[in-house]
């Protein structure tokens, strides 16, 4: 009865590892020189090399927004960005948003509005919202919702996330 077809998983050839490259990043205001493999993502650089684990890995494929950070003030998915592509850039992560011990208005707004449940998407949401505010494109609630749609919150805390962003925008 059984079709006896052979399913064989063949060994896949692997490329030899090229040498590492040196990159300089200004991370949360501090200049950091690193030698990294050319394929190392900015996300892995932050998490694994610099122990900046506030930036989360959700999908590793640019589809969930958990890894959002600001590079030269613009929001990007750090899992889709190679560290070597950003030589010399200013990188701001969730750890770098607070200034002089005072929370960033978005951080405060997320607390005020209970804009999270498990909190895993939160750093990405906040960085993305900071980028959104800097872009200055979103004027209405609908536009906030539309322009934040790259950041999945599986807990579904969207109502409060959008309310928090509105609050911070009002203050910005």
């Amino acid at each position: 009865m059984a079709r006896t077809v052979r399913a064989v998983m063949e060994a896949e050839p692997t490329a030899p590892a090229p040498e590492k490259l040196t990159v300089t990043l200004v991370i949360n205001g501090r200049e950091t020189r690193l030698s990294v493999a050319p394929w190392t993502t900015l996300l892995d650089t932050l998490r694994d090399r610099l122990a900046l684990t506030g930036t989360k890995k959700g999908c590793d494929h640019g589809q969930c927004g958990a890894c959002t950070v600001l590079v030269d003030g613009r929001r990007i998915n750090s899992c889709l960005t190679l560290a070597v592509m950003k030589d010399g850039a200013q990188v701001t992560t969730i750890e770098g948003l607070a200034k002089d011990g005072a929370l960033h208005p978005l951080q405060q707004a997320f607390i005020d509005h209970d804009a999270f449940q498990c909190g895993y998407c939160t750093p990405g949401q906040i960085c993305s919202a900071a980028g959104l505010i800097a872009e200055g494109k979103a004027k209405t609630v609908d536009e906030i919702r539309e322009l934040m749609s790259g950041n999945i919150c599986r807990c579904g805390a969207y109502v409060n996330i959008v309310a928090a962003i509105q609050q911070a925008m009002g203050k910005a």
């Binding site: 052979r6 590793d60 589809q63 607070a98 929370l103 607390i111 998407c121 969207y158």
Partner: protein, 771 residues
Amino acid sequence: MSLQLDRRSEELRLRVVRRPLRHDSAAKHVAGSATFVDDIREPEGLLHIAAGGVPAASGQLLGVDLAAVRAAPGVVAVLTAADIPGKNDVGPVVHDDPVFVESRIEFYGQVVFAVVATTREQARRAAKLAKVAAAVGTHCVSVDDALAAGSHILPDCTFRKDDSAAALAASAHRVKGQLRIGGQEHFYLEGQVSLAIPGEDGDMLIHTSTQHPSEMQHLIAGMLKVPVSAVTVEVRRMGGAFGGKETQAAQWAALAALAAQITGRPCKIRLDRDDDMCLTGKRHDFLSDYEVGFDAEGRIQALETVMASRCGYSADLSGAINDRAMFHADNAYFLPAATITTKRMKTNTVSNTAFRGFGGPQGMMVAERAIDEIAWALKLDPLDVRKRNLYGEGRDITPYGMLVEDNILPALLDRCEVTSDYRARRRKIAAFNAQNGALKRGMALNPVKFGISFTTTHLNQAGALVHVYQDGSIHLNHGGTEMGQGIYIKVAQVVAEEFGVDADRVKILATSTAKVPNTSATAASSGSDINGWAAKNAAGAIKERLINFAAGAYDVVPSQIEFRDNRVFIGNQSVPFAELIRKAYLARVSLSSTGFYKTPKIHWDPATGKGRPFFYFAYGAACSEVLVDVTTGEMKVQRVDILHDVGRSLNPAVDIGQIEGGFVQGMGWLTTEELVFHADGRLLTHAPSTYKIPCASDVPEHFNIALWDGANREDTIYRSKAVGEPPLMLAISVFAAIADAIHSLNPDKAVPLDAPATPESILRAVQAVTS
């Protein structure tokens, strides 16, 4: 009047519970400093694990050549079934889930070996060097395949109430139909991850993201062949779980523990997202047939349903999940006669598992569709048919013999009807639909009645551990795990209330099997109910000792002692809480206690299918309005009004968050989230690029949520009700509203809409009613 006064004085007395306190990790979440398993500082010498699977859904493993894997750079060990000292099993109930395939292949990608290497990248590269040969067998992928092949994982099960065949035959009207209900991927934003750290004497500490630390501990001990006491499982928090980290965390925790035992070094595994989606179980999809008999007013006389589910390759929790589908096939409606059957089908796919609602939502879908069918057949407003069929006095016995005691749904539905302005909007929608061709609006107001308790009676127990230190600070442990649902803050509120101190004086510790043993999963929405009581009992025991001590020391009667506002009032003086603690310590009073709780009143006889499986029911209602483009199948949810019953909420902010989140997740399940398997058993939708999860712009523009104002009639913790799962099912109103919009195209036909109501599914239903 006096009841109201009682209530007011109670509210005045309570200082901490029932307040919308912030999530205990709020400040850490916004700072990025809340530690998830993958964020734990890597211990010295950490190794990384990658799993390797078989590219076939069934058949026999012929051979695995791992020579190249072993020789790859950085590889420290390669593990297979032969390396397991104890049992090659992580099955929770039936013990049919191997850690590694030995010979029989059960699903595509099933794990055959694991590589342990210095870096994660080395482990993953090395895993690709394996040569796995298999003789592919025949396999079932869908429920239909399994039904055709007679492939069952567990025996069928039936609840019977009265003679439903006779009642159907005697009914003035009868309608038959079939409903397909899709599965759902959990997509907890933090994927499966485990870190195992070996200790002395063969001890093992495992940090893992799981809802069920005790089960992980037991399974790992069995696999490592060590006593359970040698294994400690610790969970600080999870980045979402939704049922997907109950049993499905076990294989990865087991791999980490095995690797750590064999290498003697700390080992970590973190699944890649695609692997996570391909290799872990999901919500069961169902194919459900039903026949309903009813009178001229639309009152149900009898319901018969056969619900067949895709269980996947192993039993996992499918027995209890299918049971719950049966428990909720009545939803909120009295069935004078019923025959409710589930078929638990075995397929060569991942083993489907717990997911928020645990089979309940799928059962409820049948009841709600049956009501719509009646309304369509009799040309009545579906809301009127719903109201006529609700449980009420004299019509209050469920198909499984439980008496429904608190019939609050008639009043709750009435209020939701008013606050949602249902009747006026119904007229406007009819007028809109009469004037528009491509765009149709639809609306539905659906009730939810969800039974609270584990239906496996012995699981309804919980433990807690409370210490008070000499400075008056309090340490709290309990068996509940935090996945974002706010159980930590809720239970801390209960303990703070007991001692009359601020909640921030209560230090919430990670859930650990070393602190509180033999716990049940944080599941079935019951976490705060049972752990809250256990913690209250622990704190209460200490408080009683303190009262006895103070009564003696200050020479007052115990009734003159009160704990509040961080002080202890003793007769007509008061002392700071910490001062009394210090005095009690010096007087050699024990300041530590465990607490235990078991849910009362519940019993269940599986042989007869009768009993009281639930301590109580949680209720809710939602009115949803949608706009459907019947030419493209596009759909938008425009307005949602929810009225939900959480008893006297322990924390209204947390509860409202659960209601919103549950609704959005349920909406995703029933509208956009579609799992597609290839005929060869491969999951094709294994990333959010192809599997559409609701995002901010999918949330209804008008989303109104109100809490029903009523206490739990049962003696739950501060008369609250469970909230984790029930709101998910409120989203059935979205699905029913879509069917309602399609129904406007042809009022003479039933709408055969299947879930999820993707544009394709909507177009199929449109075609069916218009052809």
